[in-house]
């Protein structure tokens, strides 16, 4: 069950305590990933170089594809929550998409390899569970790529029930537009598809089946 290559620490393990200079850039939980990220936070000496390395590290992550939806980079998907670049090592904080997503460990390995090859090693990948990943974190660019790839991008996430009322269980599926012909005349074949994150639909206009990235 555990990652064969190890080092998938949960947050709380402090692997960076010995560093003297840091460049850190995290994403606010309420915002999608992308250029709206918070300004980098710099500590210590030699900052100009570190700020440049931080931007370069994010650029490397733009080139790491999600193994199950390779049209998207891990950055498009919004699972990279924070990057910390020090003089001698790098930390990347990832938030897993689904509890049982078998790609989580592959993604961690890919991130580690890509950054190490670009000269950022040693790289520590940390998992952050809370706040839970949501499809709201998929960037606008990510949504455009999904659509172009033939996967209908996720709709808005249903608001939380307040807990006091008993929300009725939804029995009818949501309406989704076909990513090929944009027709709203579609029907759901199954709520579960080839991966945990997608449902299977069929367009009644162009008759093509397609996948829908489930809002979660």
């Amino acid at each position: 069950m555990s990652s064969p290559r190890g080092a998938l620490a949960l947050e709380g393990d402090d692997g960076l305590g010995c560093m003297t200079a840091l460049a850190r850039q995290g994403l606010p939980a309420a915002e999608p990933s992308g250029p709206t990220a918070a300004a980098p936070e710099l500590q210590g000496a030699g900052l100009e170089g570190l700020a440049g390395r931080l931007a370069a590290a994010w650029a490397v992550l733009d080139g790491v594809p999600d193994p199950e939806v390779p049209a998207l980079s891990v950055r498009d998907l919004g699972i990279v929550r924070e990057v910390v670049v020090g003089e001698a090592r790098t930390e990347v904080v990832l938030t897993p998409t689904y509890s049982g997503c078998p790609a989580t460990e592959v993604i961690a390995d890919s991130v580690r390899d890509a950054l190490a090859q670009a000269g950022f090693g040693p790289v520590q990948v940390t998992l952050r569970r809370a706040p839970a990943w949501t499809t709201e974190w998929i960037s606008a660019e990510g949504r455009r790529k999904l659509h172009a790839y033939g996967i209908a991008p996720p709709g808005p996430v249903a608001p939380e029930a307040d807990g006091a009322t008993v929300a009725p269980i939804r029995i009818r599926p949501r309406g989704v537009e076909c990513p090929r012909c944009d027709s709203p005349q579609t029907e759901r074949l199954s709520a579960f598809g080839s991966t945990a994150c997608k449902a299977l639909y069929r367009c009644l206009a162009c008759r093509e089946p397609f996948e829908y990235f489930k809002p979660i």
């Binding site: 509890s99 569970r129 269980i169 579960f192 489930k214």
Partner: protein, 305 residues
């Protein structure tokens, strides 16, 4: 303990195979453990602290439910449902992994998720009895359950788990709250999917409706255990770890009742039977599940892939 599937006589070849597998594993533990990672071959016993037992009850319910759903792989009535069951199973297994890891940390004996999943004795598993009932598709070689049983169980459990995740999001245990925050999003899809099937079959043909009614009669008695409190629940509530199970019953009945009404089935009459899996006392099916799940770890202690 009631047998959900009726006659057990046809299950003999499978049972014998499972028992043989179990015995083979035990024999190796006793004989050759010393030179092949004895620390992992020997059974482990988690502590009895209420917080550990509270988390293990949820973890084991997710784990065994995932195992039962996984048995449908390649046996679903249609391809889409085959895929759906394995997706549900994968979510539950992921939830179980996180909870088992956390239970191991709370327990403080250094047990990881694999050791807790594979090296406990039957009485140290604390899942609901409902999840261990065999509901895989019947065949000439392996009499099992009915798809109606499987989708109905999915609904009853998914709603119960969803309520747990919702309440655990406010747990004073930050890791438990984080696990619940993720699982809640997944459980909503599980509830929705199972409800659609219960309505489709209950309000379907005469044959499908009759099979749903039979499934409801078989399964309903096992739901009492989902809402019976004991000292573990009392501690969890007092320590703000999580909800006591009895507190979930009214909302669960309202939501399930609405779906069963839509399915033209209605809530069945209550039963006095209370199963005891979450106290470690299981039905006769549990040993066979564990034989299948644990065989590799028992035969090849510490083996990884």
């Amino acid at each position: 303990m009631t047998n959900l599937t009726g006659s057990t006589s046809g299950a003999v070849p499978e049972a014998a195979a499972a028992r043989a597998a179990w015995n083979a594993g035990s024999a190796r533990d006793a004989g050759g453990a010393a030179d092949r990672g004895a620390d992992r071959a020997v059974s482990i016993t988690p502590g009895r602290a209420p917080s550990v037992r509270y988390v293990l009850r949820l973890a084991d319910t997710c784990l065994i439910h995932a195992q039962r759903l996984g048995e449908w792989c390649g046996h679903g009535p249609i391809l889409e449902e085959d895929i759906a069951f394995t997706n549900l199973s994968l979510d539950l297994l992921g939830q179980a992994r996180a909870l088992l890891t956390h239970a191991g940390q709370l327990d403080g004996q250094g047990h990881d998720e694999d050791q807790l999943a594979f090296l406990r004795e039957e009485r140290d598993y604390l899942n609901l009895t409902l999840v261990e009932q065999p509901m895989r598709r019947s065949s000439a070689h392996a009499p099992g359950g009915d798809f109606a049983d499987a989708v109905l169980r999915n609904l009853l459990l998914a709603k119960w788990l969803e309520q747990h995740w919702q309440a655990l999001g406010r747990s004073c245990d930050a890791e438990l709250a984080a696990i619940a925050g993720k699982a809640l999003k997944e459980a909503r899809y599980h509830v929705e999917h199972a409800a659609q099937w219960v309505v489709r079959l209950g309000d379907g043909t005469a044959e499908s409706a009759a099979r749903m009614r039979a499934a409801l009669a078989r399964i309903w008695p096992y739901t009492n255990e989902m809402f019976i409190d004991d000292e573990v629940d009392a501690h969890a509530e007092a320590d703000s770890l999580g909800p006591r199970r009895s507190s979930l019953r009214p909302a669960w009945r309202a939501a399930i009742g609405a779906v069963l009404d839509e399915a033209t089935l209605g809530l069945p009459p209550d039963s006095a039977f209370v199963s005891t899996g979450s106290r470690g006392v299981h039905s006769e099916h549990m040993g066979f599940i564990l034989a299948e799940m644990q065989h590799l770890q028992r035969a090849y202690p510490g083996g990884t892939w």
